[in-house]
């Protein structure tokens, strides 16, 4: 691994990352080309004012860039199977530029309440027993109701921009438990705090119990080294939990005896809620059962009556997806979809459902049940749970950890609308 080779790989990675952005933008352009981009409704300033983002810019570039954020969305409307191509994996990055890390110089240190504080090179990590596992990642802010109805009041944004902050990959690395065994845990150790080598030194707390269970220090994704935007050269993968736990550009792990309440977890990733007296829920861990119909979805159009394959993805932080039910009448009646193998724990699961469209208006919904018997909630169920009043329910609210069912309305002309708030 000479420095030239490393530089070339870096270049290839960046080129591939750019290709990914271009593909994302292409998907947005494809949506726009379906006759919607000329609609002046897209440029409604009220819709943008709602969440402070410029949705015209988003649709043009397929990504968001700002002084403290870089966001790419997985183009779910074009997603097939359960593996997201690495170049199309979502990114929600909390700085203005990706770090340029020399993998030969990079070290992972593990210290704190351990018997033998150690520093590991990337080669050290690769010399240890490796495992490859397929897991989804999801941004805790994915599917935020704020974005529903933005862009176009009637049709909504494509599924890519509403739900595209989830992706699924085969991750390769060394179990964190192996590394913790090397350093030796001291009595009383109960939490870890991890830090990345990105400009913002992203850091997050993790309970030791989860760290010993199934967490990976990953150096590979979908058969190749991690790409720069995915945390090159190493990152944590914390299966089934909200993605901020899976710290990228991993450089330090400190073993401690209490949660550290870092800025990201105390401020950035908490939301005050009415049902708990205006207090904030502290630490969301795993995601609940969730599913999204990716095709047909908002912005697409049914070409003809008759056979339509409804397809999408389902996942749960709690394990394996047990079943997915489909409704074509807005949740009044349900039929079970087919799950396509492989059906893996804490991974996207592809479902399909054969439907005959009669040309009448329909509302398509999917509902996931996981192996624990937990059922994906409807918007009304989730909002009631969160203490949101009937009057407020029609308004998109800011939320995190959102797994409510997504309704898509099929109009008689075959065009499809986001029906979450209409």
């Amino acid at each position: 691994m000479d420095s030239n080779g490393s530089g070339r790989r870096q270049f290839l990675k960046q080129a591939a990352a750019l290709a990914g952005v271009a593909a994302g933008a292409g998907a947005g352009a494809e949506w726009a080309a379906r006759g919607q981009s000329a609609n002046p409704e897209v440029q409604k300033p009220e819709a943008e004012a709602r969440d402070g983002h410029d949705h015209r810019e988003l649709l043009r570039r397929g990504a968001r860039f700002s002084v403290d954020h870089i966001t790419y969305y997985t183009p779910l409307q074009d997603y097939v199977g359960i593996i997201t191509p690495t170049s199309l994996h979502f990114v929600q990055y909390h700085a203005s530029h990706f770090p340029d890390i020399d993998a030969q110089q990079h070290r992972l240190t593990i210290h704190g309440m351990v018997d033998r504080p150690l520093s590991f090179s990337i080669e050290d990590l690769k010399s240890l027993p490796s495992v490859s596992r397929i897991h989804f990642l999801e941004c805790h802010a994915n599917s935020s109701p704020m974005i529903h109805g933005a862009g176009n009041e009637n049709m909504g944004l494509p599924v890519q921009y509403v739900h595209g902050m989830t992706s699924c990959s085969e991750w390769t690395g060394v179990p964190l438990s192996v590394l913790l065994n090397e350093v030796g845990l001291q009595p009383g150790a109960s939490w870890l705090v991890s830090e990345g080598a990105d400009p913002g030194k992203f850091s997050h707390t993790l309970p030791l119990g989860k760290a010993l269970e199934d967490v990976l220090v990953a150096y590979g994704q979908n058969g190749e080294p991690l790409r720069v935007e995915q945390g090159y050269p190493i990152r944590l993968i914390v299966p089934g939990w909200e993605a901020p736990f899976s710290v990228k550009y991993l450089s330090h792990i400190k073993v401690v005896d209490e949660p550290y309440h870092t800025w990201n977890e105390s401020m950035n990733h908490s939301i005050p809620r009415k049902d708990i007296g205006g207090k904030a829920r502290w630490y969301h861990f795993q995601f609940g059962p969730k599913s999204i119909i990716t095709r047909p979805s908002a912005g697409l159009r049914l070409a003809r009556r008759g056979y339509v394959q409804i397809t999408g993805i389902a996942w749960s932080g709690g394990g394996v997806v047990k079943k997915v039910d489909i409704s074509t009448d807005g949740g009044q009646t349900w039929k079970e979809a087919k799950l396509q193998a492989p059906v893996l724990p804490r991974a996207h699961t592809r479902f399909t459902f054969d439907w005959a469209w009669d040309g009448e208006e329909a509302v398509l919904m999917s509902r996931c049940t996981d192996e624990r018997g937990e059922v994906q909630p409807s918007r009304a169920e989730l909002y009631k749970n969160w203490g949101i009043s009937e009057a407020e329910m029609k308004k998109p609210a800011r939320s995190i950890h959102n797994n409510m069912m997504q309704p898509w309305r099929v109009a008689r002309d075959g065009s499809i609308y986001d029906a979450m708030f209409t």
Partner: protein, 194 residues
């Protein structure tokens, strides 16, 4: 108070019991003897993850008066003069002598008044700010900027000195604004989408 302490210790005990099992299992695994030992001196050079009780806070100090000058030079370009009306993240709610005590709306989380511990501001500013050159503030400057923000939020006085000893003792108005007050793992037996 007694009941609360007891509930907390029960929770703590439960989580310790659950955590103890895998740790015990781990102790029996063979080691590979991979990795380079780290000395305490080496660890000190990179260990700036500050705990809520101020663990690992380095020496240094600063006041709001000193912080005002640094804030105007390094921070106001994004956060606005006095931490208000900037293009990014309104850091100040309330006013000197008059802290904002909530309830906090989601968009009010940006304020330092929302943080449960004053140490979070030190930790984050030290490692991640300012955006063009994170880590470029000296420890004294970080203490001063934190003092300035705490003062503007009405939490401390203008001449209060912030250092490794005083900062963790600052009483934050939203200290109990989180449920649970101390996170537990595994979480309580509620639906995970709760």
């Amino acid at each position: 108070m007694g009941a609360y302490t007891m509930r907390c210790s029960l929770k703590l005990l439960a989580s310790v019991l659950i955590l103890a099992a895998p740790a015990a299992a781990l102790a029996q695994s063979p080691r590979f003897n991979v990795g380079t030992p780290l000395s305490q001196e080496e660890i000190k050079k990179f260990d700036f993850m500050i705990g809520p009780q101020g663990q690992a806070l380095p020496s240094g100090s600063g006041t709001a008066k000193e912080g005002a000058v640094i804030f105007a030079k390094r921070c106001a370009v994004c956060h606005g003069q006095n931490g208000q009306n900037g293009v990014l993240r309104r850091l100040v709610l309330g006013s000197p002598g008059n802290p904002y005590r909530g309830p906090f709306k989601p968009e009010e989380r940006d304020s330092v008044a929302y943080y449960p511990y004053a140490t979070i501001a030190w930790d984050y500013i030290n490692r991640a700010m300012p955006v063009p050159k994170p880590g470029s503030l000296t420890h004294d400057e970080v203490y001063a900027v934190v003092a300035f923000l705490l003062y503007r939020n009405g939490i401390i006085g203008e001449t209060d000195v912030m250092d490794a000893n005083s900062l963790p003792k600052v009483e934050m108005p939203n200290r109990n604004g989180f449920v649970p007050a101390v996170p537990v793992y595994p979480p309580e037996p509620k639906p995970s989408w709760w």
